[in-house]
Point group: C2
């Protein structure tokens, strides 16, 4: 099996598409997109992503890439996890914070999963990025999803600039894994896989957890267009100009 | 279109099956069962139930009945709702209670939905029973699911006997609607549809909400077999011997 030279990213989100295109620009792979109404199943993050990829591959009859984001609260044993979008839509950021009112443990993990499926009947391959953080009362511009309540090293995502955010993004980590795999599949002529994202040492962060938050819903539960970001060349945020300069704010 | 004379209830739960059989005993309809591994989608209660019924009808190639239970917290805008089983599994009853720690409003609604689908390509029909209650700290025998935290008129489900419970069960209400519809489809020769379940007036309950709780997971998140219940002849609990006496404890 070899990965397709043209990769179809099934998404209705223009910002996610552009980010994937930018990250994969050096691989020689052409990224196209298609918006398909895909249902999501209940289950683990892995089950949901794989099912979505299979469903998309069946729909288009060829190789596809899909993406999912989850926000896992430690005190809630990983929940709301893949169901966070429903909770954010109904309860907004304030409601998400209140779900942890009974707990001292405010730690959370942001999880981004890309799933690639070669075609109908093929087993999907997952590329997952995880970043640890903690849930705090809203701070910063309430632009995207749970950005204002997800704290990393003392700042919420909403308080950071794009460069800072993209140094530690779970989404970026996932994309780096996908990129490395695609480069390997396509052999020479493309850049070597980047170094694995550095594990951030919590001991150096003054007691703060390190994380990266945000997604694509505004405080009214509506999907929104993220602001411009820069696409860094590796998982730890070495800024790289793509020829188009800053692309999008981190939509994770 | 006419309803099938034999109804296939897709469930792996022997107790739910027996309850459906008992309730439908007077309709002349034979209830059979099949256990199928069915995925559940994310979405509204209605979307999830309809999808599950369609999936089951496609699987068996004929008429099917499926069932779903949800627990909707008022303060959480109806959540965890259809996702409650995941929260109960991970957080147990204590964790469900803690999800409302930040709110004075402890009201909740138990929702049982039966979905009937005539066959592949047919639109499913829903029969829904809803009962209002409130979430309290665990009281009573922790036998089934969220029974010990769902209070009705001053008692949790776990503190009630079967007869009391079945007077007000959301599950029983849903089954009564299904029964009435099946009787209508099959015309004469069967008992007339029972009176609609009585709406319980909250003003007469000393400030307590009226509800009915419980499901099929024990405090370790494992599915359990409910105790014996009596099957009442109508939604308000007129006890009726079915020839097999007490059947099961209320598995709602």
């Amino acid at each position: 099996m070899s990965a397709a030279k043209t990769l179809l990213f099934v998404t209705s989100n223009a910002n996610k598409l552009a980010e994937v295109k930018a990250i994969l620009a050096t691989t020689g792979i052409t990224v196209e997109s298609k918006s398909i109404e895909l249902i999501e199943i209940q289950g683990t993050i892995e089950e949901i992503s794989k099912d979505k990829a299979r469903r998309a591959a069946d729909n288009v009859g060829g190789p596809v890439l899909v993406e999912d984001t989850a926000l896992c609260f430690n005190a809630l044993k990983g929940l709301p996890g893949p169901y966070v979008k429903h909770f954010l839509k109904e309860l907004k950021n304030d409601g998400l914070v209140k779900m942890l009112a009974a707990y001292d443990d405010k730690r959370a993990q942001a999880v981004c999963t890309f799933a690639y499926c070669e075609g109908p009947g093929q087993e999907p391959i997952l590329f997952e990025g995880r970043t640890d953080g903690k849930i705090v009362r809203q701070r910063g511009e309430p632009t995207f999803g749970w950005d204002p309540i997800f704290e990393i090293g003392g700042s919420t995502y909403a308080e950071m600039d794009s460069y800072q955010k993209n140094k530690i993004s779970h989404r970026f980590k996932a994309l780096q894994k996908l990129k490395a795999w695609l480069e390997e599949k396509h052999g020479g002529g493309v850049a070597p896989p980047p170094a694995a994202p550095q594990r951030i040492d919590r001991r150096n962060l003054g007691g703060h957890e390190v994380a990266q938050g945000g997604n694509f819903f505004d405080s009214f539960g509506e999907e929104v267009k993220p602001r411009a970001i820069n696409i860094a060349g590796d998982g730890m945020g070495i800024r790289k100009e793509t020829g188009r300069g800053w692309q999008f704010d981190n939509p994770n």
